[in-house]
Symmetry: C2
Subunit: 203 residues, 2 copies
């Protein structure tokens, strides 16, 4: 299989790289340069009509896009260590926390990125007011996760999971666009240091 | 277990009701009135600090929020019929299509709802320009799903899945806020008629 990958700071391919690293899976990668707009080339659009990375092409030609869907495929074919949880309750709680990252933190980060950042200046339909209004919402979201991490080692359960990967990659992307973790968010800072110390975080 | 539910047009509780109906699960429901702001009451916030419905409280007190996480719990305890797929590829494709609904269609629908609708006029920080700019993006998204449904009976695989439930509830919520399926989207219209004809759609 072939993993269509883009380098940092793109957060979505990094999710899959971290996930694979945690499982010891070596992906055969094909780089797709976002700077060179290779993700919008006819060849790549034939693989993923959304023109986004990552994508995983299986040996039979099936293409799986969307980072979490790609991770779920890897979980099914390489179950250990389980990163989506074992059993009904743990699986549901990991899904709940994954979705909280995606529904609470990612939208304001994305709104700031798409509407205000110098690297997205060429995008049509930007709304600077909307982007700036989302900047404090990123901090609000980081505070929610700080509170949620009180007394916890990892976000969703007592072991590392896909929910931690989603939070890590989103927090790091927020920092890339200029929104760091506030000084007083001690739980989130300690968690961030903990998950960043794992070798997989270098992926 | 207790299912904290809100009536239509709230799209998220409906997802779980449809999911449960497809599996023949009878949920013990506790209504939470959004009109009466019961989802922001201290009692409900103690269950779900996000103040959103639905939520599922298990007999041991564990609370699962986020509609898809709740459905995933129900899938694990009532596997038949499988609505998240069987096997690595099918599970990944259902996740991929579910996420496409959530990442492509839901954001512009939510932006129109939150920023322009008369029922959300009291929300702080509305941006009418941003809301109106998202109205054509809803139509763009519906066109993507129309194209994707060409030659298909269901969205993700050859049988009904959670991805169909997410698309149905989001399309119906879009119609509620005034954005219907354009006349020329024949694949999407036929699919919508097909999934709406299932008894579960009345949930």
């Amino acid at each position: 299989m072939i993993f269509y990958d883009s380098p940092n700071p793109a957060p979505n391919p990094r999710r899959v790289r971290i996930f694979a690293a945690e499982k010891g899976i070596e992906l055969r990668s094909q780089p797709v340069s976002i700077v060179k707009r290779e993700h919008k080339s006819p060849e790549y659009l034939a693989l993923n009509p959304r023109g986004q990375t990552p994508a995983l092409q299986l040996d039979d030609g099936t293409v799986i896009t969307e980072s979490v869907a790609t991770c779920r495929y890897l979980e099914a074919v390489h179950p250990d260590p389980p990163l989506f949880g074992i059993g009904a309750v743990e699986q549901a709680l990991i899904e709940m926390w994954s979705r909280r990252v995606e529904m609470i933190l990612m939208p304001p980060v994305g709104a700031v990125w798409v509407n205000t950042h110098q690297f997205t200046a060429a995008l049509p339909g930007r709304n600077m007011d909307w982007g700036e209004a989302n900047r404090p919402r990123v901090d609000d979201a980081l505070r929610f996760f700080d509170t949620s991490l009180e007394g916890r080692t990892f976000l969703a359960t007592d072991h590392y999971s896909i929910a931690d990967i989603l939070l890590l990659t989103t927090v790091d992307f927020a920092a890339f666009i200029g929104i760091g973790i506030a000084e007083d968010l001690n739980n989130l800072r300690a968690w961030h240091a903990r998950v960043t110390a794992r070798p997989s975080a270098a992926a």
